[in-house]
Symmetry: C2
């Protein structure tokens, strides 16, 4: 990629010169092929060319309001470019998501964009397969939303309810007289709260509300609602709307609140692909509820890619900085040490390099499975939905938790400078940790997977066959004795199976015992919650480990050196996470105390081996400096120059003396002399 | 304490009515006595009365520059009040630190104050015992700094060097002709970078620089340097100064950079309590280097109290919110559940309630030891310094890591609303995680403790007696067989000993083996780094566990109920951290696989038991709403009202239509129709 032209730091040059493989192998692995890499690079360059970037506007020094205004300006320019691409037939929703959120997202916008939900949630709601709209609605709204005067968002979460959808309080009551729905926010807690772009950007929203018709509540349904006048942008009468305020991160997203006071919308605005309300108010229930899972699963699968994007950036920054930074001495006769030569530093960073590859392999696998399931759905085959749903839940939870913890560890590995916004690590952390909460809170998701696992365990004990991802439960249920320990990787992967199965068995037994003791099912479930969450975590880990190992086996690169690097990373991942949870392995697998030391030595060996290629690997993630946005992580390694340049953009530094001296400090200091 | 007058949420009322003990017991435990509680409350109220608070200024919505200016204004008002107290003889440095940083800090200032280092580092440098100044210097500078026209900071860290002090590059070269030191910043990396208040607030600094005299480098020494004109506040000629920019947190601290260009200061400005430079340039080395540890240890001990303050606030917020928040159902016939009734939620929160008490007990113990050591030092008895130093290192590292991770877990337990600045959790996290890096990076500190432990291990194997905190190594070195497992707490505490000893032994042996294999000592140390850090962590944990258990035993409260609560919390702490690291216990202690399940059941029992008193306990932390600064954690539990009130302060919400609509969105949307 095009990089800023400064002289490249000598240490980085040396690291690149001694890399054993061609970093472009990594790039192809992540993009999928050389052809896809070329295409992505072209697209990224197209967007980076002649756009005003957030770094030039120094938005981070501005007020919350100015941040919003700058972000709208940038968004306008970006969408302008998207439309140009569309005209030449080169834009699809995938590209747009990449631009707005994934690789380019953090380059273009300061901490998110208010138009994100327009593309990520509003438009997909009208998509032919995934969406909830019937075909007339699709045609009408897609047309307006792609090209016209509609900016949309998706208003589900309320002040009082997030993950528990049944608790939502907004009401849409059908009035057969006027053939309209009347929307209301009956309580303070029923106010919509959180939707991106809702504050001051969107003029329409898909609103999730409890449907009432013919005097009965029919549960939650979706409605397209106009919020603001298309000409003046003033909120319509009956709409109370605004922005919810500053947050840990994502301050550029314009999250909003929304209340309704007897606000009327036409009957046609209910999304009626599945359930319907007829003109007279008769409610027609959907034949197929399972389809609803589609969107949720789709979004969680995309989130894996989003998280991967955050983590690869953070790892790139930490590795490059750790090669440039010299601090302290190992040998008193030698110059100061590159901090990446400290084994403790390698231990903080390299497992997360490996984690990037693990997430990539997992995300690809789930993405493919998602498309398979979509195809099956069209043939009314719903067989794989429960498995896919349960996987998407625990993978979203574990990958978001790993990514957030990883970015934080990487940030801390950069010392004080990692704490600076200029490192870009705080922003990446704010984006990543949010994923632990949105689109299903992680613990709630783990418990959903646990329900599937407990059910599968019962099937296994009954000798029923199980889908591939839970097949390991069969062996455990049969009481097959663990194979004795040996130090090869296959045995360690077996041990992951044993750990997950051990947790599932233990949670299922404790659940049963409580029920036998007379505890009601739901309360017994709650009392077993800690273990249930643990078994879902262990299940996700075993799935990631196996998928990663399979991806390494099936790697079609011709480079022996690259295949070796991949093997090392895979082994590191498998050993690292086993040692992190070594108690589980000692409890549930055939691993014995004395094996722990052997594994630890192997871990130390792998860190040492990967050290040489660390820079090459992260170079292969192929981030343009404008996309990485980090003074610590730039390709040329001019860390200190960039930190200084960044500080010079601070408006406080435009004056040698701040006004607060004359105004507050001086009179006061003198008063006491 | 005085609280805002709203109707208290019914759920909170109920929780308070069923608490089994009087929460004021907790307050007395944390303050030390009823008398101290009264005094603290008076002082806090005195500062809260008639001050403009950050919440009224809605600073978080403002720009970085405005944030600085507002903070200076508040600081002026606060110092005015401090001076009033001083005049009436009621102010000491302890009170001031409390006000500026600990309990009141987050209430008064937005994300720190630029005057912090004036009180926390500049003034103490001139303190009679701790400081490095001789008695004339003490008299002169203390007088000016307390009352007069000097605002100071402490400039040690540079762009290129933090924890590794010997690497600092700023030079102070003595010129016997003029009897001056000439200060220079020979490289970009030698610029001072990070000192709080340095940007635009301080007019003096204590500068750490490499002393050159008579052509020789004499290592780092301290110098008082005037930076700005006392009248105009303009930087003096030869001083390059400014602010370093935005950060993950602490944006109100005005961290600065500083460069010198042949800047001259009088010889008297070197702090000469220990080493000296005579008029002719002769260097006289200090007789006693050990004294230098004093300040570092003192600050690390204070940091434990600071961290405790952050964590108690976060726990208070999470508990109160979790009682008010109702979400989801356990029993379908019942109303929605208080989220604190989910065992998974208790598991996230209660161990950190227990951790607060553990940190409190530990901080008190170390504080007392610090004073004992100070007394001994005055009698030239340095015996306890290595032990105190090694404890202060690992305790700072482990307590800061626990606190940061804890606040993050507590924030996540509050779901989406925890992500909002209005919860105050993001700010608390930003403050706490910074402690992992400043005043000695955590990994570096752990390795310092490890050096002490490895040395102690050698002494133990030689049969030499050891100080109290490492006595457990003696037994392990003697090869005393572990007592067989039983389920009482004493045995579990023994197991903590065994784990720490096991890690120390293992690290020491691996270190030795590497050296025997011909690896140079320093490199062998590096190669064993992961294990060495682990043994220091285990050592800190065993110390905290024992100190907490001792504090519970020695508790002099007359309330049986409170003593019971303390026992439960102590047991929870001990079991929670054992299960978190259960692999170590299975490896190094007599704990067997089958005991893990028993411990887990006991943990579940403790969570259930503590549930009833959770609100009472955090009420006992006694935070005024203005000090807690959290919409989620206020005493009255009006969570949603406060979130809404806070959003109304958002300047974006003053206009229904933001200017960016007319400017950017409208012309653009229309263009495509």
């Amino acid at each position: 990629m095009k990089q800023q032209k400064m002289v490249v730091n000598k240490d980085l040059q040396y690291e690149r010169s001694r890399c054993t493989f061609d970093p472009v192998e990594v790039t192809y692995f992540f993009d999928g092929s050389a052809e896809k890499t070329r295409k992505r690079r072209d697209q990224e360059q197209y967007f980076l060319d002649d756009l005003v970037l957030k770094e030039n506007l120094a938005i981070k020094y501005k007020s919350h309001k100015e941040l919003y205004e700058d972000n709208v300006q940038i968004t306008r320019n970006v969408i302008h470019k998207i439309r140009e691409l569309q005209r030449s037939g080169k834009a699809d929703i995938d590209l747009i998501t990449n631009i707005l959120v994934e690789r380019l997202g953090t380059a273009l916008f300061e901490d998110g964009t208010p138009m994100l939900l327009h593309y990520a949630m509003f438009l997909p709601a009208f998509a032919p397969i995934l969406g909830q709209a019937n075909s007339e609605q699709q045609a009408y709204w897609l047309n307006r939303a792609w090209a016209g005067d509609v900016i949309g968002t998706y208003a589900q979460t309320e002040l009082g309810h997030g993950t528990f959808l049944r608790g939502l309080e907004t009401t849409a009551t059908y009035d057969p007289e006027t053939k309209e729905f009347v929307l209301n926010s009956p309580t303070l807690t029923s106010y919509k709260w959180w939707p991106g772009g809702l504050g001051h950007t969107a003029n329409h929203a898909i609103v999730v509300a409890q449907l009432y018709t013919q005097g009965e509540c029919r549960g939650i349904h979706l409605f397209v609602v106009q919020l603001r006048d298309v000409e003046t942008h003033e909120p319509l009468k009956g709409i109370v709307i605004g922005e919810i305020g500053t947050k840990l991160g994502m301050n550029g997203v314009n999250n909003g609140f929304l209340g309704f006071r007897d606000f009327r919308i036409p009957r046609e605005n209910m999304l009626m692909k599945n359930s319907k309300v007829l003109e007279d108010g008769t409610y027609v229930k959907s034949a197929n509820d399972k389809l609803k899972y589609g969107t949720m699963v789709f979004i969680r699968v995309r989130l894996l890619r989003l998280l991967l994007n955050y983590l690869t950036k953070a790892v790139t920054i930490a590795v490059r900085y750790s090669v440039v930074r010299r601090q302290g001495q190992i040998n008193p006769d030698q110059p100061e040490v590159q901090i990446l030569d400290y084994v403790t530093q390698q231990y903080k960073i390299f497992p997360y390099i490996a984690t990037c590859f693990a997430i990539k392999a997992t995300a690809s696998w789930v993405w493919n499975m998602f498309y398979t399931v979509q195809k099956q759905l069209r043939q009314a085959n719903h067989e794989k939905i429960p498995e896919l749903h349960s996987l998407s839940c625990c993978l979203k939870a574990v990958v978001s938790a790993d990514t957030a913890a990883g970015i934080e560890q990487l940030r801390l590995s950069c010392g004080g400078h990692g704490y600076m916004t200029a490192s870009n690590l705080p922003t990446l952390y704010g984006l990543a940790t949010a994923v632990c909460t949105y689109e299903g809170e992680n613990t709630v998701l783990l418990l959903q997977t646990a329900a599937y696992l407990v059910k599968s365990w019962k099937q296994a004990t009954n000798g029923e066959p199980l889908p591939e991802s839970v097949e390991y439960l069969n062996e455990a249920a049969k009481g097959v004795k663990h194979r004795p320990w040996s130090n090869d990787l296959e045995r360690l992967i077996d041990a992951y199976d044993a750990v997950a199965a051990g947790f599932v068995r233990s949670a299922a037994e404790h659940l049963d015992r409580r029920i036998r003791d007379g505890v009601p099912m739901e309360e017994a479930w709650n009392q077993t919650g800690i273990e249930l969450a643990q078994c879902a975590e262990a299940h996700a880990r075993v799935f990631i480990v196996k998928t990663f190992a399979k991806a390494v086996k099936q790697l079609n690169s011709k480079s022996e050196e690259f295949r070796q690097v991949m093997s090392q990373l895979c082994e590191l991942y498998i050993i690292y996470w086993a040692l992190k949870n070594v108690g589980n392995f000692l409890r549930f697998s055939s691993m014995q105390k004395e094996h722990v030391e052997t594994l630890h030595s192997r871990l130390e060996y792998l860190l040492m081996t990967i050290r040489r290629n660390a820079v090459g690997i992260v170079d292969g993630f192929d981030f343009d400096d404008h996309i990485l946005c980090s003074a610590l992580g730039a390709y040329d390694g001019n860390v200190y120059e960039r930190l200084f340049q960044d500080a010079m953009k601070n408006p406080l530094n435009r004056e040698t003396v701040n006004i607060s001296f004359e105004k507050y400090l001086k009179p006061f200091l003198k008063s006491n002399l």
